[in-house]
Assembly symmetry: C2
Homo-oligomer: 446 residues x 2
């Protein structure tokens, strides 16, 4: 492939990873980032929003040799730990023995990824540069700094890795027959935290993702390397149990006392954090096409932002890089074909993970507190362990495999129908591990 | 109600009508229109895209005394005339004796409406003014002319009546939790024409909407006052019968010869028009909320653009004015309540007519050529004529009544289920007008 000049708009997680992919092929990469360099300012130094890195993400990192570096800052979480109101704990493993999803700090990971990108020949990150225009025919783009100075950047190809509010997509949105939607769910979220214990250790099980499922809302906690947990409260903006209804300090304390008493006991900074941290919205972006003229392509959230409940947003963006890279390997300089194939392959997968992420929200906040649901998962797990070639649970397909999201969703729907039949067997609570149930499953699967 | 300063962005049909409503209440109205004044340039002087004005539109015009003026330029269309490939004509009345939808030229009507608006004290239209910004908190807006000069317009209230590509909506789109989608159907359209006969008369039935239904595509023709018909070809962009596949003059002629022979014989300028007129796309806009801060509101296409197949786009926009005006009458200066009520009332209606317009596309291009469908409509018509209090056909609810679109859709679905049962009566073709069928209908309706 001939050497190209590449512009990447956005130096977030996906942009930084894609820069490395492009640099490894010998291309020159200019990255433009709207925000300042957080590494200089010490922002995101400690805790921040946590992400769950899983197999699709690891594969994309491995593709350019970044896996080992990131492993150092990631904490494996082997299971869900559900906290009931009375403090009872319930457990649900994510996969087979040894399989885990990995807690990483978004800010910290982003800083590491930017530094790794910059170590590659030909990669340059320009900070404080807001994208003000893109010529979709030529890939030339314009950026404005804090002082209003405009720079023009020519390129052979431009990638819009500029996230939910993508400026590149906003320009594409104005082109004829561009399908686009932004929708928001009724829930918002607020970041909170559980600090390390006084001895520096973890106050609750370290290698787990903690959930306080309460039906219409939930609290989750993911571990950090310093012994703390980053917590996120997901709750409707309006209605009975809602952010709107928690106005004063007393409302907040009373709410936590009655719904999350064990968590409250570990959250000394609750009231301060409640006031300081914003209540943020959760949106979904869908659009098509993702590319224009063999010159401009959207990757990551800019083309398919999803809700965070499957822990797949970053993983899906990283997988865009894997797929795009494979297409570059196959088609070389034929970028028209590469971009066309890319959007045709990835669009159904993006739609599928968007759907799965919404479903997983219901599962996390509601079903993980439901004995029937937990039994169902236990039956699935037992069968999957015994007949791994016949049954790979949906969660494992999404999290621990590279099966296309679209295919995983279809297979998951098939499994759902089968499990509904199994769960309707009279007395299933008693005979869930019987030969009868196993044989019925074998019959239904084939 | 206290006198207010009103800004209306867009001097199209809905903007001009709303300006009159506001002026009649004694408010001062500044309208800003992106395009030049077409009245000066003689553009749209003759033919142009035709619209079908129906009862909702007339009511809104009547509300400010504009009905009589517009009646003068409108041509009633009492029925559909379907043209088969072999030239056979089939007829379907739109409503009861004397009920009609009215063909008007979009350009001509817009010019008339602007002139009528300007005749009202306090209304001023500023042309060649592109909206570059709106402060959603204060209703202050900025406009740029062709020379790059920016004007700032303060106001008490601002209405975005700036259509499908609304600049006001684009600004609202960037606010948190704003739901928005733009989608395009696979069909595009091209304007063509049938000129007047040599004696100045109409070459085909004047008081009708003509359809050449061909399944996946269709041609329609609406009458103009000069004896001509404005024709529109609706066809997919890509695929077997598509714009993409009609490249040369011969392709076009051959296509018309085989699918629209009777129309072709009346279209001497077909090839010239085919090349000169663009192939345009057909999109749907959905969004929510429609208002912000009791200061800014979207009306018409800017908040709910739909496909043109029910002839309700303009009528729905005009009905926005009726509803908003009623709310201003009730709530006076309480604009917060007016705007909130407006969007809550109108959003389900806008969604319903968007859905109905898509369904009517299938009806027009496909079902109007289907004997079963025509029989079904004949049975409905007969029953509706005899029992008008028991059955108002869906088309009549939408076109000749002021029943909310949302309610019309629900009732239409109920009627659909009933008619499916009637159509499955053995030998319905023979006994469609029998007492048996009538009694069965009476039974199902109650």
């Amino acid at each position: 492939m001939t050497k190209k000049e590449i512009t990447i708009v956005g130096a977030g997680l996906v942009g930084s990873l894609w820069a490395v992919y492009m640099a490894k092929k010998g291309h020159k990469v200019n990255m433009y980032e709207r925000r300042p360099d957080t590494r200089k300012e010490g922002v995101y130094g400690g805790r921040s929003i946590n992400l769950a890195l899983s197999d699709r993400g690891w594969k994309a990192l491995r593709g350019v040799g970044l896996e080992d570096e990131i492993r150092k800052v990631a904490i494996p979480m082997y299971r869900r730990v559900m906290h009931s109101v009375d403090g009872t704990l319930t457990y649900q493993p994510y996969g087979k023995e040894g399989q885990a999803i990995y807690s990483v700090s978004r800010g910290g990971l982003n800083q590491t990824m930017m530094s790794l990108a910059e170590q590659h020949e030909g990669v340059k990150i320009h900070f404080d540069q807001k994208c003000t225009g893109v010529d979709l025919e030529t890939a030339t783009a314009w950026f404005e700094d804090d002082h209003g100075k405009i720079v023009e950047q020519e390129a052979d190809l431009l990638f819009g890795a500029d996230g939910f509010y993508s400026a590149v997509r906003q320009i594409m949105q104005k082109t004829d027959r561009f399908t686009y939607s932004q929708t928001y769910i009724e829930h918002g979220y607020k970041e909170l935290s559980i600090p390390p214990a006084e001895d520096g250790g973890f106050r609750i099980e370290k290698n787990a993702l903690h959930i306080w499922p309460r039906g219409g809302f939930m609290l989750i906690a993911l571990p950090n390397q310093d012994g703390s947990f980053t917590c996120t409260l997901f709750m409707p903006f309006e209605g009975e149990n809602s952010f709107e209804n928690l106005k004063g300090d007393d409302d907040v304390l009373q709410f936590f006392r009655s719904t999350f008493p064990d968590a409250l006991a570990m959250m000394p900074d609750l009231i301060v954090e409640w006031k300081e941290n914003p209540t943020s919205s959760l949106g979904i972006i869908r659009c098509f096409p993702w590319t224009r003229n063999g010159k401009v392509a959207l990757i990551g959230d800019s083309s398919h932002a999803i809700v965070p409940f499957y822990g797949q947003g970053m993983n899906a963006g990283f997988e865009d890089c894997t797929v795009l890279n494979e297409l570059f390997e196959i088609y070389g300089d034929d970028v028209d074909t590469i971009f066309r194939q890319y959007e045709l392959i990835r669009k159904p997968d993006a739609d599928a993970i968007a759907e799965l992420a919404m479903r997983n929200f219901v599962e996390m906040r509601d079903l993980t507190a439901d004995p029937d649901f937990l039994l169902r998962k236990k039956i699935e797990r037992r069968f999957a362990d015994k007949y791994p070639e016949k049954w790979l649970p949906l969660y494992s397909m999404v999290t621990f495999s590279h099966i296309r999201y679209h295919d995983a969703l279809a297979e998951g729907n098939r499994q759902d129908a089968i499990m509904s039949k199994i769960m309707s067997i009279p007395g299933i609570e008693q005979k869930w591990d019987s030969v009868e149930v196993e044989n019925r499953l074998l019959e239904l699967v084939s």
